[in-house]
């Protein structure tokens, strides 16, 4: 499975890459929102998206993806240090499939990626 991971912290990106690669996933990376929108056109099977990003935030990325016919089918897992219920609700309402807080449990993250990428009923 090809997974796009988006985070502005290089060590978080590295962690996500290692956590996913050991499970056999291919990982592509982006460090900001605009790059994420570009790399999303490489047809990833799932996307892990941080909320706090340097250019446009994760919520704006979700908003733009939902308005784009090519991108709005990509299942997104939001991964953020913003644990406020309001941010989570907004992310879900903008199309995110799941929302996970940092720090995460590696096994839970791998399970969540498989879950959101599975065909929806």
């Amino acid at each position: 499975m090809k997974v796009l991971v988006v985070d502005d912290e290089p060590d978080i990106l590295m962690t996500l890459r290692v956590v996913l690669q050991v499970a056999g996933h291919e990982v592509i990376e982006a460090e900001d929102g605009m790059t994420a929108l570009e790399r999303a056109r490489e047809h990833p099977d799932a996307m892990i998206l941080d909320i706090r990003l340097p250019d446009i935030d994760g919520l704006e990325v979700l908003r733009r993806m939902s308005a784009d016919d090519e991108l709005n089918k990509i299942p997104v897992l939001c991964l953020s240090a913003h644990s406020s219920p309001r941010t989570k609700d907004e992310a879900i309402s903008l199309g995110a499939r799941e929302y996970m807080n940092k720090p995460f449990v590696a096994a839970d993250l791998r399970a969540a990626i498989v879950r959101i990428a599975a065909p929806q009923d």
Binding site: D8, I12, D55
Partner: protein, 468 residues
């Protein structure tokens, strides 16, 4: 008094006065009364009675909904006015009195009416205090509510109803420093950002030391004797100020804890994610991948350690428990000691221009902590060239750390020395506390720290006390 009634009343008064001037003469005691005298007397009685009744009703109604002391005083005036009118009527209508045998009941009634007026106009202090009890109870209730308030809006919600009870106003609104409506209570809703919609009477305004304002409005029959309540309210406003300051301070603490937790999440995420992966999959991972993971764990572990140390430093400094020595120091020794503790990374060059004879007063360890923080920031956010200089200025020595990096974004400068003020977009590995700690240390040492743009880079200036 409504306008049509006022016109009738004024006309009657003018007619009676004019008739008094027009009369040829008043009949003396015992003289026969001419035919015109009775209608004139009747006109005076009707005019006086009408005026008195209207005044009494106005006094009574104006007391309604007012604080107890104010209400009772207005009602005493209403009763006094009505009684005075009654006495005049009785005096005018009763048979000729005998000057030798005065009517005792009438004399007593006169005395009673005068007493009612006196108490209404100038009640004894004990009576006022007794009347004020319900409002004092309300004020005590409001103070108790203030203690449980969590936000400035909470302060407004919990206290404004008590405010209205104390002053007997129509509405009360609490505004923040920036004009935002924190809370409102009463009959007249505020009209958007307009803090002073047109009313018959100017509202009472109480400025808060925090910069906000309490605005209390009364209706058109804003009565007499309100100054007592205004004094009570003014005292109470000081408590509101304290409560708002406490709420803001608590909010800052909550924000600080939230920011600290947020900063810890990145190193924890990396360390736990990598450690769990290593523990479960190490035998299946390539050696360079294992090395990469271990390096990440070490790097983020150090970051977490630095953050925790900085948090502890902040807590110690803020609590006043961190001891500060007051030694005479050779500043260049402190600067070179800082460079030993935080050597320049590859690609960075540090130029030091601190004369060896420059001496300052302070704590060597703490000044070194400040210099290390500043040069570490310069390594992290600056360019390739960093310079450290020092020169005496009046009673101070000004130490400068200058870099040729991108500088600080103008919008960040005002809060640069606040905890966690780093730009949301910055993905540096700093804790967000370094400059805040620097400012607190320099403050404790009796100096100051400032930032200024230096061409395209940054310059931090630290003023330290010059040693004699």
């Amino acid at each position: 008094v409504y306008r049509p009634r006022r016109v009738v009343l004024n006309t009657m008064t003018i007619a009676v006065i004019a008739a008094g001037f027009a009369l040829p003469r008043f009949p003396g005691p015992g003289e026969p009364r001419p035919a015109w005298f009775l209608p004139y007397l009747l006109a005076i009685v009707v005019q006086w009675t009408t005026t008195s009744v209207i005044a009494a009703v106005w006094f009574w109604r104006a007391g309604s909904g007012r604080p107890t002391a104010q209400r009772n005083r207005m009602r005493l005036l209403a009763v006094g006015t009505a009684a005075l009118n009654l006495l005049i009527l009785v005096s005018a209508l009763r048979p000729e009195s005998d000057p030798e045998h005065k009517n005792v009941a009438l004399q007593l009634a006169n005395l009673l009416t005068a007493s009612v007026f006196f108490v209404g106009l100038a009640p004894p202090r004990q009576l006022i205090e007794r009347w004020r009890r319900p409002e004092m109870e309300a004020a005590r209730g409001a103070v108790a509510e203030l203690i449980t308030a969590v936000t400035p809006s909470d302060v407004a919600t919990k206290t404004l109803p008590h405010m209205l009870t104390i002053i007997g106003g129509q509405s009360a609104a609490l505004y923040a420093k920036d004009g935002t409506l924190l809370g409102f209570c009463g009959d007249v809703p505020p009209s958007g950002s307009d803090k002073d919609p047109p009313t018959a009477h100017d509202p009472l305004r109480f400025g808060l030391r925090s910069g906000g304002e309490l605005v209390v409005r009364s209706d058109s029959s804003s009565p007499l004797f309100a100054h007592d309540s205004v004094e009570v309210l003014a005292g109470y406003v000081n408590l509101i100020d304290l409560a708002i300051a406490r709420c803001e301070s608590a909010a800052k603490e909550r924000q600080f804890i939230s920011n600290a937790a947020h900063e810890l999440r990145t190193p924890l995420t990396t360390m736990t994610g990598l450690a769990e992966t290593l523990a479960e999959n190490r035998e299946h991972m390539a050696p360079d991948q294992v090395t990469e993971c271990l390096s990440g764990v070490v790097r983020q572990g150090r970051r977490a350690r630095d953050l925790v140390n900085n948090l502890l430093d902040m807590a110690y400094i803020e609590s006043g428990h961190l001891p500060f020595a007051d030694d005479v120091l050779v500043l260049s020794d402190v600067v070179y000691g800082s460079l030993d503790a935080a050597p320049a990374p590859d690609g960075c060059h540090v130029c030091v221009d601190v004369p060896p004879d420059v001496r300052v007063r302070g704590d060597a360890r703490r000044i070194q902590q400040v210099v290390v923080n500043l040069i570490t920031n310069a390594y992290r956010y600056g360019g390739e060239e960093i310079s450290i200089g020092a020169r005496p200025e009046a009673d101070d020595v000004v130490l400068t750390v200058t870099d040729d990096g991108a500088g600080v974004a103008p919008e960040l400068v005002p809060t640069l020395f606040d905890p966690f003020s780093r730009a949301a977009s910055a993905n540096g590995s700093g804790s967000g506390l370094g400059l805040a700690i620097c400012r607190r240390i320099v403050d404790e040492l009796g100096g100051s720290i400032t930032y200024e743009a230096s061409g395209t880079g940054s310059r931090f200036k630290v003023a330290l006390r010059k040693a004699a």
